[in-house]
Amino acid sequence: MFSQGLSLDQAPPFSVILRFFLTIPLFMFLVSLAIFGMDLHGLAYWDSPKMVAIVHLLLLGVVGMAMVGALFQMLPVLAGASMKEPLFHARWIHLVMFIGTLLLTMAFYFEKFELLHPAMALLLGSLSFIVVLMLFKLLSIDNKTPSVIGMIISLNGLGFGLLFAVLVTLTFMGVDVGFLPSDLRTIHMHFMLFGWITVLIMAVAFQVIEMFYVTPSYPYIIRKWFPLILLTLLVVQFPFYIISESMVHIFDMLIGMVLFTFAVVTLRRLSQRKRPVADTTVWLWRTGLFALMVAVVLVAVMTVVDHPLLLDSAALLFGYFIISIVFAMSYKIVPFLVWFHLNAKGVLECPMMGDIIPSQYTQWHLWLHWLLLVSLFGALLFPLLWKVTALIFLMESLLYGRNLFGATKIYYTLKDKGML
């Protein structure tokens, strides 16, 4: 109910979201080590165990942590639904996801497949608990704003993604579930990347683009329907993997069109900002959305010319899009929350956002992040450059970690100096 949701006591403690965000640089660090330690030839095959390990390390450890942290924050603040004992749930979900992600990565990276069972149990346990808990809260809200609907849909997308993760694992163990293993993997991946991550990015964007940059709101049709259209396309699409391959491609095109339109509209909103200064986060959004658009175009080109480099580039660009948005959002949310919680504790001389994460450091991060894009493409052409890419990503993880831990340090130094 509305009146319980908008109460100060139920704003989640800062440490709830912080524990998820602070884990991101650590996993980025591990990703860079994993790329560094890889045989260069293995990097050309997405299905090689080491690549599977790296992809999951990135998407669960870096992106998943950010998404779940964001949900914990958004649930009470944007959706007005409070959760009992958020700290308790955040603690155990974070810990279980953390261990599960490490085990899953090790299972593939070191080909110790016996680790797969505990890894699956931990990840399925924590992630499906999130789906059930949050859906339960969100569905009971009276006034379902488009962002609430978007969150509901993304949680459904995660649910489907988890279901197909189980099916992929079953086929992996030799059980026949009727789909080709490679198709199941693709379906699992699409639900996770589009149905869960992209839909949640949309739901968040509908709120924060307007809020951080003071822009006109997204067209109502987009806010209301895009998340639902995206998930519906995915749900209707998957049976066609058995029936008709050409229908699958048509659905892929439609999904691409939704993603492309979202990118165009968001870029347009960013250019309609009332605030004059394009800070680092505006550029991170632009960079990420541009990568998304190029990725869609490359996949479209694939219907005409089929070259493996097209799919590789599109996949890398899509990953680059997601992490750019993670950086863009955390560089606003973390310093704002530091200020907000310190101010709420009555800290005098409370540092402002620009003091909490100095803009010069985020600027350096942006440059490094652009350099990463250059080296990614270099590495596609000259595999030796993967070592350089790993190094740049490692530097990015250190700088990002410095920025987030610096903000955290300011919070913990000042939080007991308040008058309230």
């Binding site: 908008l6 709120q207 809020m211 009332k274 004059p276 200064v277 101010n343 402002m352 956002m353 620009g354």
Partner: protein, 143 residues
């Protein structure tokens, strides 16, 4: 919808004045910045007063709830009032970096505040205050 529409327009007008102040600071024109900032500050403070003296009491009377959403909104108004002082200081000292650091904080605070009002509180007001909506808006217009 009458309450929502009236209040949302006020929010947008305040945004516009603030954007002009930011643009002036960005150009380094602090005299112009002060002019627009004062316009923004006066309008926003008036808007807060309308809420705290007219709209919120009416909402609290009908719902019988003084500890809920209106308490959070009043609290955030006070947080914003504190930041106005800081911004004024930054303009007086012609300190561009400080201005944008505070402005970023204030804008996010105000925008998330306005969004909560527009999507939740005003929507509730439209519903529970429907019979007196017209009269309330008139009172706020002439406040």
């Amino acid at each position: 919808m009458e309450i929502s529409n009236f209040m949302r327009d006020e929010h947008r007008r305040c945004d516009d004045a603030f954007a002009k102040a930011e643009q002036a600071v960005n150009r380094g024109d602090f005299t112009e910045a002060l002019k627009y900032f004062e316009e923004f500050m006066i309008d926003t403070l008036k808007h807060f007063d309308k809420e705290e003296e007219i709209l919120f009491p009416a909402f609290e009377e009908v719902t019988g709830n003084t500890e809920g959403p209106t308490r959070v909104m009043r609290y955030e108004h006070n947080q914003a009032r504190g930041l106005f002082e800081e911004l004024k200081k930054a303009i007086d000292q012609s300190d561009k970096a400080r201005f944008f650091s505070v402005a970023d904080t204030l804008m996010i605070l105000l925008q998330q505040h306005n969004m909560k009002e527009e999507q939740m509180l005003y929507a509730m007001c439209d519903r529970v205050l429907a019979p007196q909506a017209h009269q309330l808006v008139e009172r706020m217009r002439t406040h």
